[in-house]
Structure formats: C-alpha cells, structure tokens
Symmetry: C2
Subunit: 218 residues, 2 copies
C-alpha cells in the first residue's frame, strides 16, 4: 500500500490533481474514475492510479474515486492544512507582488514577516505586513522560528543570507533569486523558481516550432 519514499515526479503532480479535483468539486461532481480524470488532465489512467496508490487506496473498485474525499486527502498529503510561518526577504517588485498575489493560507503557510535592507521600503505596508529592516532579521528568526524563507533578493546577497537562516533553523527556501541553492543544503527543502530559465526555455521552444514549420513547408 503506502510507499516509503515517493519520488519527486509524483509529488510534483499532486498540486495539479488537487486543482483539478477542486474544479470538479465546485462543479458538483461527486465521483470520478481514473479514466475520466486522465482524459481531463491529459495523462494516462494508469499513472493516476499509480500516483495515488503511493499514498494509499483511496478508490473503490467499480465506482472510482469520491471527489471530495480525494481532494481533501491530497490536501492533507501535501500538508496544505498546516499553517507554517513564512518570511519574505526582498520587498522589491517581485517580492511585493508575491506577498500580495499569493494565497499563502490555502497552501499551508502564513506570511509573518517581510524584510528589506532598502530604507525607502522599510516601514511600508505590503498586504497587511510591514516591511522590517533586514538588520532585525536574525533576532526575528531567533525569537519567531519561521519555517520557510522566500528569497526575492539579488544573487550576491543570497548565499550569506541563506547560511544565516540555516543557522537559525530554517526548514525550506522558496528561491526566486538567481543563486543556485540546491547544492549546498541537502537537508533543507528548496524550491527554485528560476523565471529566467523558464523564459529561456520558452524562447528555445518557440524557435524550435518555427523551424519545424519551415521544414514542413519544404
């Protein structure tokens, strides 16, 4: 039944299942088979059943899956019902956008602090949280013990800041900086969001499709 170590490929599909199930739930769908869900999501029924069975048997033979139960189950597996403390470092354009745009509470987090070293930003209100001076970060961490840090800071600042946060017992990084964290801290969860890499990949793929189109013409 429930597997010991579930691969990251499976984990990364869970939030998408969760989103599609939410939609089904909102549309009033009570049950769904792996076949119907696979058609909706553009993957195989086999994969869905394999993925879900990493965590237990949530379905019923001859019936399928109960949408509400499965939705809630996946939410629990992901830990979205938790309320871990997150701090945001860097209140520039991207940092402020993330603070204002993200629904942290429905993803297991609560934004408890925003920090920046720019005096022009310190004191500013961003979505109900006041920007604090980076100088106060260390003492804040020592008394408040945030779980994860969101890094929206320049590459140069990232390494030293990350080290300090690890010292303070941080458990995870949501890294938007250009600094590559993955390597250095194997026991801490890191999600790198390299927007530049994503845009570069899109650039390649648009070019590739263009080449295909030209080739087909000839």
């Amino acid at each position: 039944m429930a597997k010991e170590n579930v691969s990251l490929s499976v984990i990364r599909r869970l939030p998408r299942y969760h989103r599609f199930l939410k939609e089904l739930l909102d549309s009033g769908t009570v049950r769904i088979s792996s076949g119907d869900l696979s058609a909706k999501m553009g993957l195989t029924a086999s994969q869905i059943r394999q993925d879900l069975n990493c965590f237990g048997g949530f379905g019923q033979q001859g019936y399928g899956y109960n949408v509400k139960d499965l939705y809630e189950e996946i939410g629990r597996i992901l830990g979205l019902d938790k309320r871990r403390k997150a701090i945001l470092l860097g209140a520039g354009n991207l940092g402020r956008a993330i603070a204002l745009h993200m629904d942290f509470s429905s993803r297991g987090f609560e934004l408890v602090g925003i920090f920046d070293s720019n005096p022009a930003l310190v004191g500013m209100d961003v979505g109900g949280v006041q920007v604090s001076d980076s100088a106060d970060l260390e003492s804040f961490c020592k008394s408040n013990h945030p779980d994860v840090a969101i890094l929206c800071i320049p590459k140069e600042a990232a390494k030293a800041l990350a080290e300090m946060l690890v010292e303070c017992g941080i458990r995870g990084f949501w890294n938007f900086s250009h600094y590559d964290l993955t390597l250095d801290y194997p026991n801490i969860a890191v999600e790198n969001v390299h927007l530049g890499d994503s845009l570069s990949t899109l650039c390649f793929r648009v070019n590739e499709l263009e080449h295909d189109r030209i080739r087909k013409k000839n």
Copy 2:
C-alpha cells in the same frame, strides 16, 4: 552528431549551463572540463557531455570546453540572441513585477505591449511601456504580430483570451494564470509557471523532512 529531436529534460538544463558558464566567463576562466563543471553544478560529467552532444561536439579531447565559445553556443541554441516580440496581459501586481523585474532582451524577447481591462491601470507607465486597454488587444495583434504572450490574468479570462491570441497567430505562452493551457494547443509552445503548485510542493517537502527528523529521533 547533432540529434534530431532533443528531449525537454535536456532543454530545461540548458539555461542552467548558460548561467554557470556566464559566471565562469566573468571570473576569467578560459576552459573547463565536463568533470570540473559537473562538480560545480552537482551533476555527472557524463550527463553534461551527453547533453552538449545533442547539439554537436563543442569540446576538444584532452582539453575540455572553451568557456566563452560554449557560453555563446548555448545562447545561440536557446535563441537568446533573437529579439521576439512579447506582450504582457494583466498589469496587476504580478504582471507589473514581471514587466519591471525581467531582463527580456537577454532572453530573446522584447516587451512591446502591456494590456489590462482595468481602467484604473490603463495609461500607467510600467518600465517604459504604457498599459493599453484590453479592448485594443486584437487589433494590436493583427498589426504587430507578437510572438509570445505572457498571461498574468485570472483563470476565468485565460481560456477565451488564449483562443483569440491563437487565432491571431501567437507562437507561445508564458502562462502564470491558474488556467491549464498545455492540453489545448499542441502546436504552440507553453511554459506554465504555477507558483501555487511550486509552493504546495515546498509545503510537502518541508513536512516530509520534518517527519524524517522525527523518525530518526526514535
């Protein structure tokens, strides 16, 4: 030598190679072996050589790779030297942050238009580009032929807007909306950036590490 169809796994690693090579270049390193680069990047030398050889033999036996040449070569492969037209839809917090934060020109793009349906935003200057009314989007596309569209719009608006843009001949989407584009348009390049999914994954992994820690204690 150069492979016909290169897998997406390989493509997605190219921007990261590009970044690391830039760093080496800036630090004055002239040549590097796959072994040294693999150590720096946390992957195997084999993988690096396999990846690069999808596009041709850029190295030299007994010497390694010339940093500058390889950096430029990968840039060309990705098409970062191009200057394709990008438009941004949705000038909310996230949209504005991306317009201001991203260096489009070093990733093969140029931001030629920003659109929003909110009258309060229309006319606003965002990084040197004026926000236009969404009502003018279709005619803009028909005369300017943008290559890619960046979607920073609500889920509800995404489907219809995407269809219209496809009609107008758009080649790619950089999709930050919660709408799942991948399925519908197989001949158009789509990069989905689901920040919510990324945060949910981080949530899972932080919990997982915590469980491991507790298990170890007992």
